[in-house]
Symmetry: none
Subunit: 211 residues, 4 copies
Amino acid sequence: MELGKVQQAAVACFAQRGFAATGIRELGSAVGLNSATLYHYVGGKEDLLVGIMNDCLAAMISGAEQALAGSNDPVRQLALLVAFHVGFTATNPSTARVTEYEMRALSAKAREQMQELRDAYEQLFADALQAGERQGSFSTVDLGIARLALMEMGTGVSHWYRKDGRLTLAQVQLNFISLAMRILAVPDEFPLPAQQLPVPRVIASEPTSKD
Amino acid sequence: MELGKVQQAAVACFAQRGFAATGIRELGSAVGLNSATLYHYVGGKEDLLVGIMNDCLAAMISGAEQALAGSNDPVRQLALLVAFHVGFTATNPSTARVTEYEMRALSAKAREQMQELRDAYEQLFADALQAGERQGSFSTVDLGIARLALMEMGTGVSHWYRKDGRLTLAQVQLNFISLAMRILAVPDEFPLPAQQLPVPRVIASEPTSKD
Amino acid sequence: MELGKVQQAAVACFAQRGFAATGIRELGSAVGLNSATLYHYVGGKEDLLVGIMNDCLAAMISGAEQALAGSNDPVRQLALLVAFHVGFTATNPSTARVTEYEMRALSAKAREQMQELRDAYEQLFADALQAGERQGSFSTVDLGIARLALMEMGTGVSHWYRKDGRLTLAQVQLNFISLAMRILAVPDEFPLPAQQLPVPRVIASEPTSKD
Amino acid sequence: MELGKVQQAAVACFAQRGFAATGIRELGSAVGLNSATLYHYVGGKEDLLVGIMNDCLAAMISGAEQALAGSNDPVRQLALLVAFHVGFTATNPSTARVTEYEMRALSAKAREQMQELRDAYEQLFADALQAGERQGSFSTVDLGIARLALMEMGTGVSHWYRKDGRLTLAQVQLNFISLAMRILAVPDEFPLPAQQLPVPRVIASEPTSKD
DNA sequence: TATGAATGAGATTTCATTCAT
DNA sequence: AATGAATGAAATCTCATTCAT
C-alpha cells in the first residue's frame, strides 16, 4: 500500500465532506485498510492533512517559479503565472481545494507553517504585478485588489472545471490570461502562444476518479 | 434571548472553525445558553444552519432584484449586480462565507433546497450578461467563464475586506465595477455614479465583532 | 381538563411503549397540554403512575371483596373471584397491564406500597382456595401452583380480549370459571348462573380508544 | 470478552429494570467494559436486544420441535410441549421474560421479524391442540382460550420459579402437565413418565446469578 | 389554569487514538 | 504490515423538572 493511495482517498473525502466531517475509519475503508493500520502510514489525522497540504503548496511554489523562468518580461511572467495557477487548479482540483479550505482545521503550529508557504506563493504574484506596474505595463485602480481578484478567480476554477468538459485545459488557461490582461489594461490579450503554456503535473494526492 | 444572537454566534463559529468542527455546546456558551436551551430556539444543529443560509440567500436574491430594478440598461444592470454582490459580501462576510462553504454539510434534502436558491441568484447574473451580449455591449472569449470569474472574484471579498480597512465599501464596489467592465470590454469603466451604488443591509445573522 | 383524561392518555402510552420509554411531553401533547401544565394536575411522572396503579389496585380489591360477598360457599366464591378477575382485566386491559408491568418502574418506597395492595388482592384468592381445600371441595397436586396458574391465566386476558371480539365478556368469564373448576377438580363446571357474574366497572384511567 | 457475558448482563438488567430504563453505560460497567467497547461486540442497544430475542426464540422453536418428535400421540405431544414450555421458562426465566416483554421496545422492522418467530412457536401448540381435538382426545368450551390460558400459565412460571425452591423442575413440569390435562378434560393426568420429560438447556444469554 | 424559557443530568453513539499480538 | 480490542473524551440530542409570568 502506497502513501499516495491513502492521500488520494483522504483528499477525495476531505474535498467532498470536509476534514472535520471525515472519520478516520471512513478513510481506512476507502483504501481497504484498518483504521489502526493508517497510523503506520500516516501518524494521525492532522499529519495526513499536513502532508497533503505541504506537498501541494511545494508543488505550487516550484511550479510557479518554473513558470516565471520562462520569460523576463513582467507581462509575460504574469501571464505564465496565471496560466500555471489556473492549470494547477484545474489539474488538481480536489487537492487545491482541500489545501485552501482546510487551513482552518490545522493546529496553530502547523497552520503557521502552511501559511508561510501560501504567503510565499502569493508573493510571487505580487512581485510580478509590481514589476509590471513599475515599468508601466499595468494600469489598475488598485493593484492589491487586482491581485486578489486574479487569484480568487483562478482558484474558483476548481469548482467547475472538468477534464472532459466543454473547454480544454489550454483553452481555459488562455481564457484566463485574457481576463488578466484586460483587468490589468494590457492591450495585447494573448501575450503568450499556446505552445508556451505551462503544463502542470498531477500531484500524488489528487484522486483520479473525478474526471 | 433573540434568535439573531444565536445565529450570530453560530455564524462566527462556523466561519472560523467550520460547521462540522463546531460543537453545539460551544455555540451555547458563546451566547450564554445551556446547550439544551438551544433546542428551544432552533431544532438541532442543521436547522440552525439551514435557517442562516435560507435567510442569507433570500436576502441576496431580493437585494439583487432590487439592484436590477435600478436601471433598464444591461450594462448598468450588471454594474449594479456586481456592486450589490461585492457590497453584500463585504457587509456580511461571515454569513456569506458560511452560506457558500457549508452547503456540503447539509443533508441531501436541505442541500437541494438551498442549491435552488443559489441557482436562482446566479441566474440573475447570467441573464444580465446574456442581455448585454445580445445587444453587443459585452465582448468576451467565453461568457460562461466570465460569469464564473466575476462571481468568484466578488465572493473572495469576504476573505480580506475589513470595515475599517484601507478602502471604503463604495471604493471597493467601484473598483470591482471597473474590473467587471474591463473583463467584459466595456469602454466606460464607471457606468454608475457613486450615489447610485446599492447599499446592502447587514443581515441578522452577521456577527458584529468582526470589524 | 380532568385528571381522568390525563390518566387515560398516560395509560394508553404506558401500555403501548412502557413507562420508561414514554416522555412527559408526549403525554402532554396527547391531551393537548403543555408539559409544564401536567405538573399542576399530577406531580411528576412517578406520581402519575402511582395514582393510576393505586386506583386500579383499590378497585380490584374492593371489586373482589364485593364478589366474595355474593356467596358463602368457597367453590362459588372462587368462581366469583375468577369471574371478577377476568372481567376486570378484560374491562380495563390497559390499566391492568400497566399496573402489573410497571411495578418495577417505581421507586422503592412506592413499590412497597403498591406491592402491599397487590399482595392483599392475591391473598383473597389464596384464602378462598384454602377454604375450599379445607372442606374437601378442591383437589390439586399443589395448591400454590394452582393459584399462580389461575391468576396468570386471567391476567393474560388483557393480551387478547377485545370488546367487539368473538366472545362476549360473560362468555369469557364462564369459560374461565370452567377452566378453574377443572383445574381444581370440581365436578360442577358451572357453579354460577350467568346472572350472578360480577360486572366490573370501567375505571377512570382506562382509555376508551381500545375497543 | 465473550458475547455471552454481555448478553447475560444485558438480560439481567433488562429483566429487572426493563430495556428502556437500562442505560448502555450500566451494561458496560456490569461486564467491566467501556460503553464504547460494547459497540465492538454488539452494534447498539437494539441490536443487542434483537440478538438475545432471536437466540431465545430460535431455541424455543427448535426445543419445541424436538419435544414434539418424542411421540406421535397428540395427547402426549401436548404434554411434551407443555413440559418443554414450562421447563424452558423455568430454566431461562430472565431471557424468556425479556423476550416476551420487550417486543414493544423494538423498531417496526425488527419487531416484525421477532413476531414471526413467536407466531411460529405458538402455532406448534395450536396444531397439537387441534390434532388432539380432531381425534376426540380433548374437550373444551373453547379451544382458542384453552391454548392462550395454557401458554400464559406456563410463561408465568418465570415470575416465581426458583432453582432452589420448594419444587424441582421435574415436579413443576409434571404439575403443569396435570393442569393441562385437566383443562383439556383428558382422564389420564400423567400421560408422560418423568423420564421422558424434556430437559431444556440453559441458553447463552441467561444470567447465572439468579438462583 | 396554563405556558415558554431554561437547565443539569444523562441518553446513545462516534471519535481519534493506542496497544498487544 | 496489519489488526481487533479497547478506551477516554466528546459528539448531538432528550429527559424530567422548575420557575416567572
